[in-house]
């Protein structure tokens, strides 16, 4: 039986052989499991944008983009399987949308020479391009998010948080633990009291955590949640009558499907975002070229939603980086190493975003050899339950780099030492 299986699997692998003359963008998505609620709109946005570029512009610089979707179920073992299955196809950049899978892939992409873009997740210290040659996390990362949230609270409290109680409710995984160190350092600086409460995967059961919050009555709750955990947390917050305007999610805990299950009770819930949510002209193009043409990855109902927009934004950054790479190297059929050069030279300006039909969708930033993390800015948005919309309540808030830079330096240097990595970027 084993040999038969082997032969059949071999045949299956052969059938999906590499095709030439296209730019391959693997999409490690998850449309199943407890995190599918977030994974589906993101993947829809990611794929639809590539379809749009193919249909409307005839590809990237004249070369068609090919997206290979591979289901990971947010599971690291399947993520590795997907990576190994797709890397031989000429993959240009990986975006796994999972911090767990990112940690798996960081050493692998460095060995294989394929860029990894973890937009707003993954290993924060990958911002340091001197150490992480192949990993990018522009435009912002977790520690930026933590700092932006605290800065927003500072603004609300007239610049003084001393004596306030802030609770971090986090997904008990690498993802959820990332902001703890930053929040601790910031608490020393600003004098608030931090306590942390973990929620285990998948986060469907949070009664005891919210009982504790109800007992301790912190002034603010910051949440690092994902998937089904968000909906449950917001519902539980409503159940214990925690004031929603004092409850802030990070940018993975601020999509429509997170708040709608709680109905009107979710009104006033705040979340960070790295994109402004608006009616961009690009959505009309997607409607026309992709959804109406029957080419959409999903059923088209997600167009314009928070995570769809973010998935599309991720695809846009990949396309722009590919274009930059094509210009730099003067050929259309770029490979992964050229893609990396393009990502490192990527510059996003207001004019460029407007030209693409998405003016102001993200912050302006420029990637450089030593800074793979972009500007780090984020906005705060608030849920308006009656209108069913996220209202941006701030402009882009810049994180506190004075606190973050030493942390990034420390963590990335530890990685460099562990793995004997020579620092790059000698000019700086």
């Amino acid at each position: 039986m084993k040999t038969k299986l082997t032969a059949a699997a071999m045949a299956a692998c052969m059938a999906a052989g590499p095709a030439l003359a296209d730019l391959v963008f693997p999409d490690l998505s998850y449309r199943t499991g407890p995190y599918a609620a977030g994974g589906i709109p993101f993947s829809d946005g990611y794929r639809d944008y590539f379809t749009l570029v193919n249909e409307r512009d005839g590809g990237i610089g004249g070369v068609e983009a090919r997206v290979i979707e591979c289901e990971t179920g947010y599971n690291t073992e399947k993520g590795v399987e997907c990576y190994e299955a797709t890397k031989g196809e000429g993959a240009l950049v990986y975006q796994p949308l999972s911090t767990g899978i990112t940690y798996q892939l960081i050493p692998k992409v460095q060995a294989d020479g394929i860029p990894l873009h973890t937009m707003g997740y993954g290993r924060t210290s990958a911002k340091n391009g001197e150490v992480f040659e192949w990993v990018f996390n522009y435009p912002a990362n977790y520690w930026d998010a933590a700092s932006v949230a605290i800065k927003h609270l500072l603004d609300e409290n007239g610049g003084d948080l001393s004596g306030k109680d802030i609770t971090l409710l986090y997904h008990n995984s690498a993802y959820g633990k990332e902001p703890i160190r930053t929040l601790e350092d910031l608490s020393e600086k600003h004098g608030y009291n931090l306590s942390t409460i973990a929620v285990d995967h998948p986060g469907q059961e949070q009664k005891s955590q919210w009982l504790r919050i109800r007992r301790e009555r912190p002034d603010y709750v910051i949440m690092w949640g994902w998937g089904v955990m968000n909906q449950v947390a917001i519902q539980e917050a409503a159940n214990v009558r925690f004031p929603m305007e004092n409850f802030i999610g990070n940018w993975w805990a601020g999509a429509e499907h997170d708040v709608t299950p709680a109905g009107d009770a979710a009104d006033g819930y705040k979340a960070l975002n790295m994109n402004r949510i608006a009616d961009y002209p690009v959505f009309e193009d997607i409607q026309e070229y992709v959804v109406d043409a029957g080419l959409a990855a999903g059923d088209g109902s997600n167009v314009g939603k928070v995570l769809y927009t973010r998935g599309m934004y991720a695809a846009m950054l990949a396309v722009e980086a590919a274009k930059t790479a094509q210009e730099m190297h003067g050929i259309a059929q770029i490979d992964a190493a050229m893609m990396r050069d393009g990502m490192e030279a990527l510059e996003m300006t207001e004019a460029k975003m407007e030209e693409l039909g998405m003016a102001g969708i993200g912050p302006e930033f420029a990637v450089s050899c030593s800074n793979h993390g972009g500007s780090g800015g984020g906005i705060v948005q608030q849920w308006d339950a009656s209108a069913g919309e996220w209202e941006p309540i701030t402009d882009y808030i810049q994180p506190d780099d004075a606190v973050l830079d030493p942390l990034v330096e420390e963590d990335s240097m530890a990685f460099a030492e562990e793995n004997d990595i020579e620092l790059r970027c000698n000019e700086s």
């Binding site: 039986m1 084993k2 299986l5 059949a8 699997a9 045949a11 299956a12 692998c13 059938a15 999906a16 998505s29 449309r31 199943t32 599918a36 589906i40 979707e69 591979c70 289901e71 179920g73 599971n75 690291t76 073992e77 590795v80 399987e81 190994e84 299955a85 890397k87 031989g88 911090t99 767990g100 940690y103 798996q104 960081i106 050493p107 692998k108 460095q110 060995a111 294989d112 290993r123 924060t124 210290s125 008990n172 995984s173 690498a174 993802y175 633990k177 990332e178 703890i180 160190r181 973990a198 285990d200 995967h201 963590d411 562990e418 793995n419």
Partner: protein, 358 residues
């Protein structure tokens, strides 16, 4: 015809007592070993190693471990994931604390640490049995995962709580870390699988295994005929955990390279390995391999067929995979409640008589 015993004469006790008494069976076994050691390492690529062969070999080790405890000694355990985590974290701590010592020694030591932990959690088995023991081992599962999440010392105070395997070499070739070539990682796992299967097989058909089976079949009767239940049960826990610890260390070090305890060693891992043992066949070393192959290779194979060859959307394929694997489990267990190993045994019986069945 194929499995002919006629003319296969044994002239010594050693020959009579060997693992594969039928000549054809023995040659088949040597052929599998020759292919696995002599051919596969030369043709294996990254995808085959990392997505197919490494998980299969490592789960096979874990399944052999659990089979010794559950299949041979009759002690139901739901703590396999937790014990694998002990192996992984022990290996990580040893790797980082003593970087100059060979990784192979660390993997064996990690197994030893797990064996000690296993014995500790096996103590309640002297008093509680059956489903009640399953619940006690379930507590071990949750406690161990909680422990590795809670105490930063275990993950060397890293910011994310992840453990990442640094590069370690055997005879100058990297076997852990990203630079490890596919064949090296494969060979390391293969060597451990072969040793574990060999030791497991010979333990279970010797005095020790007979004691375990006596305890499994009826512990009071076993005690009356002179089997010490304390020694038998605890030795089963020790040997089983030793193997599972090795599997955990390989899973972390050689296969994934970075793990997060809750995700990699959660309760679903315990169930997965228990299902491998049940589907493969309780009380059979071959069954452990068959069960691991069934639950590791089949989903990958289905994915490649449904998405790669038939071009289905990946989410539909992922859902259907569950349906098909679940359906096949029911079919196989209805057809043969004693697992794939029993099917294989029956097939061998039939082959002996073929082409003249009676």
């Amino acid at each position: 015809m194929l499995y002919r015993e006629a003319g296969d004469f044994k002239t010594s006790y050693v020959a009579d007592g060997q693992t594969f008494p039928i000549r054809f069976d023995r040659w088949r076994y040597y052929a599998v070993l020759a292919v696995a050691f002599g051919i596969v390492p030369f043709v294996v690529n990254d995808y085959w190693a990392n997505a197919v062969l490494l998980p299969f070999l490592i789960y096979a080790i874990a399944a052999i471990g659990l089979n010794i405890l559950t299949g041979y000694c009759g002690q139901v355990s739901l703590g396999t994931g937790g014990f694998m985590a002990v192996g992984a974290y022990a290996c990580y701590k040893l790797m980082t604390a003593f970087p100059d010592v060979s990784i192979l020694i660390h993997i064996v030591l990690a197994g030893g640490v797990t064996a000690a932990v296993g014995v500790l959690f096996g103590l309640p088995s002297l008093r509680i049995k059956g489903f009640y023991l399953a619940v006690a081992t379930l507590a071990a599962q949750f406690f161990l995962v909680w422990l590795f999440n809670k105490v930063p010392w275990f993950y060397n105070y890293s910011a994310s709580g992840q453990i990442t395997a640094p590069e370690r070499t055997v005879l100058g070739v990297a076997v852990t870390g990203p630079e490890a070539p596919a064949w090296a990682a494969y060979l390391v796992c293969l060597v451990f699988v072969t040793l574990v299967a060999l030791v497991g097989r010979n333990l279970t058909r010797g005095k020790q295994g007979r004691q375990w089976m006596a305890i499994r079949d009826m512990d009071i009767a076993a005690e009356i005929i002179g089997v010490n239940p304390l020694a038998a049960k605890l030795s089963a826990f020790a040997v089983s955990s030793f193997f599972i610890g090795i599997a955990g260390a390989l899973f972390f070090g050689v296969y994934l390279g970075a793990v997060e305890v809750g995700e990699a060693f959660g309760i679903q891992k315990s169930f997965l390995i228990l299902f491998m043992v049940i589907i493969g066949g309780l009380g059979s070393i071959f069954g452990s391999f068959a069960g691991a192959a069934f639950l590791v290779l089949l989903p990958v194979f289905l994915k490649n067929v449904l998405v790669g060859a038939l071009g289905w959307p990946s989410d539909l394929a992922a859902h259907f995979e569950l349906v098909i694997v679940g359906g096949l489990i029911i079919v196989f267990l209805v057809a043969e409640p004693h697992g794939l190993a029993q099917l294989w045994r029956l097939a061998k019986e039939k082959l002996r008589l073929w082409p003249f069945p009676y």
